[in-house]
């Protein structure tokens, strides 16, 4: 008997369609916005920048620190540092807590009420306290982003463990497995697909909270770039900041997706 892995080829249609839709949107956008200094029937430049101008600005901002004080890469790097630090911390705290809450009644009993109280408070509401506690440095921003990233980690890890196939647990029990062994060898692997779902959501949350946190007070970061663009009345800077947020987010998502596909080889096809 020969068993081979069959690689399914993506059809031509599926490979082309995303590019068609992207190109169409960009072209439509370019066409529907007036160039700077021109006023006609189209959307005026003070309300929205054209993608072409944004591209030019982006290239220029790679080396130019004006008018907001830092290059695009510096902004992106600062934001990346903040959100990745917060993201990693939220995984380190949220995932173990959620997993343990799913399997051990004691942990669930202790943490569930606190979690339910804490959950509805949006991270941004913590900004004033954060300023009292950490001042306006990097720590404060990381703390706020962390609060946003932790919720999906806890919920998904918890749900993942709760959704473990009971037959698997029974099987382990009949072999005489201890609670801890069942937790580590059955519950955690079962929860992995949900946990990886959480990584994506948490990252999204971190990335969105980032902008709010950078409103706090900062002189660098993509969120700051957007704010700076607003106060300068420069829509191209605003859009550049937004697009940079989007692109960086996609890149991180892709990295996580790759790791996920490797680790979950048996669970998902």
């Amino acid at each position: 008997m020969a068993y081979q892995t069959v690689k399914a080829k993506k059809s031509l249609k599926l490979r082309i369609l995303p590019w068609i839709s992207l190109t169409t949107v960009v072209l439509l956008w370019q066409f529907c916005v007036s160039p700077p200094g021109v006023s006609d029937w189209r959307i005026p430049g003070v309300l929205l920048a054209r993608p072409y101008d944004v591209l030019l600005l982006g290239i220029e901002k790679l080396s130019d620190v004006n008018p907001d004080g830092a290059t695009l890469m510096t902004h992106a790097w600062v934001s990346l540092q903040e959100s990745v630090t917060a993201f990693v911390l939220s995984l380190l705290i949220g995932l173990p807590l959620g997993l343990l809450m799913g399997w051990f009644g004691v942990v669930r009993g202790l943490f569930r009420p606190i979690f339910e109280m804490w959950r509805p408070i949006p991270p941004v509401a913590w900004i004033p306290l954060t300023i009292f506690w950490f001042g306006i440095g990097m720590e404060g921003k990381v703390f706020i982003i962390l609060l946003g990233g932790m919720t999906p980690c806890i919920i998904n890890a918890y749900m993942g463990v709760r959704m473990t196939n009971p037959v698997h647990i029974q099987m382990a029990r009949t072999f005489g497995a201890s609670d801890w062994k069942i937790f580590t060898s059955i519950c955690i692997p079962s929860a992995l697909p949900m946990v990886f779902g959480a990584l994506q959501i948490a990252l999204g949350n971190c990335w969105t909270t980032l902008v709010a946190a950078e409103l706090l007070a900062s002189d660098q970061g993509l969120g700051y770039l957007i704010t700076a663009g607003r106060s300068l009345g420069r829509t191209d800077i605003v859009v550049l900041g937004m697009i940079s947020l989007g692109i960086t987010g996609v890149i991180i998502s892709q990295i996580i997706y790759r790791i996920e596909a490797k680790l979950l080889a048996g669970i998902r096809r």
Partner: protein
């Protein structure tokens, strides 16, 4: 009067009783299993088979009575119990080989011995070629073989099987039943095989216990004294099958 009442039984089930509230499900069940014996249990549907198995594997507590293994009350931590469930229980995140090892891992079998036993068992059940595949890459019958191999690999004191081949087609079933008999003979395990397929029971078992409907008791014991490999068309085989069928149909 029968071999089941000889002294020094491997497994002794004494007065096994289970009540859910006032509902009596298992009513003082008594029987013994000798070491290396394959006993089949057949009964009408809804005869409390699942409850019975859960009690045997200690997944649920008994109301009264107990199960003794080598004279001591059965305990999944102390004894080697293994259970092959009706539904597939292969862990999807482990390869076939890693799945088969799982039971031994829980039991704390030393690394070296694990490897040796794994090799033997994979060869016996014909999973050698597929050892490194994940369960979602193998067929349904292989899924069940994984579970059977995993159970046999721990050298169980008692191996419980809950209609392990109930969901497979006839041809595969014959094939896997032969494989089961081969495994059991090679490894000299003690097996309690539950099924509602009478032909299957007569084919694999040394002894068949026929259960009554709820509240469940052991209604009769049929000794299958036929040479192996058995022949479905042998008049003696047909006769025993008829006898068991009558016992189930009788009321």
């Amino acid at each position: 009067m029968s071999p089941s009442e000889q002294p020094k039984a491997k497994i002794e089930v004494k007065n096994l009783t289970k009540k859910f509230g006032d509902l009596l499900v298992l009513d003082h069940i008594n029987f013994n299993i000798q070491k290396g014996e394959m006993v089949a249990i057949v009964g009408p549907t809804g005869c409390g088979k699942t409850t019975f198995l859960n009690c045997m594997s200690k997944l649920t507590d008994t109301t009264e009575g107990d199960i003794f293994i080598d004279g001591a009350p059965a305990d999944p931590v102390k004894h080697n119990l293994a259970f092959v469930f009706q539904e597939p229980t292969a862990l999807p995140w482990r390869t076939v080989a890693e799945n088969v090892v799982y039971g031994m891992e829980v039991k704390g079998v030393p690394e070296k011995e694990r490897k040796e036993r794994l090799d033997t068992i994979l060869n016996l059940v014909g999973l050698k070629d597929t050892a490194d595949l994940y369960p979602n890459q193998v067929s349904a019958s292989m899924m069940q073989r994984i579970a059977v191999a995993r159970a046999f690999a721990v050298n169980p004191d008692l191996l419980l099987m809950d209609e392990p081949y109930g969901q497979l087609d006839v041809k595969l079933r014959f094939y896997l039943e032969d494989e089961l008999v081969k495994l059991w003979q090679t490894l000299n395990s003690t097996v309690l095989f539950i099924t509602h397929n009478i032909e299957e029971a007569v084919y694999v078992a040394d002894r068949i216990l026929v259960l009554t409907p709820k509240p469940t008791k052991v209604r009769a014991e049929v000794i299958v004294d036929l040479p192996r490999p058995r022949d479905f068309l042998d008049p003696k085989f047909v006769e025993i099958r008829r006898q068991v069928t009558e016992l189930i149909r009788w009321w």
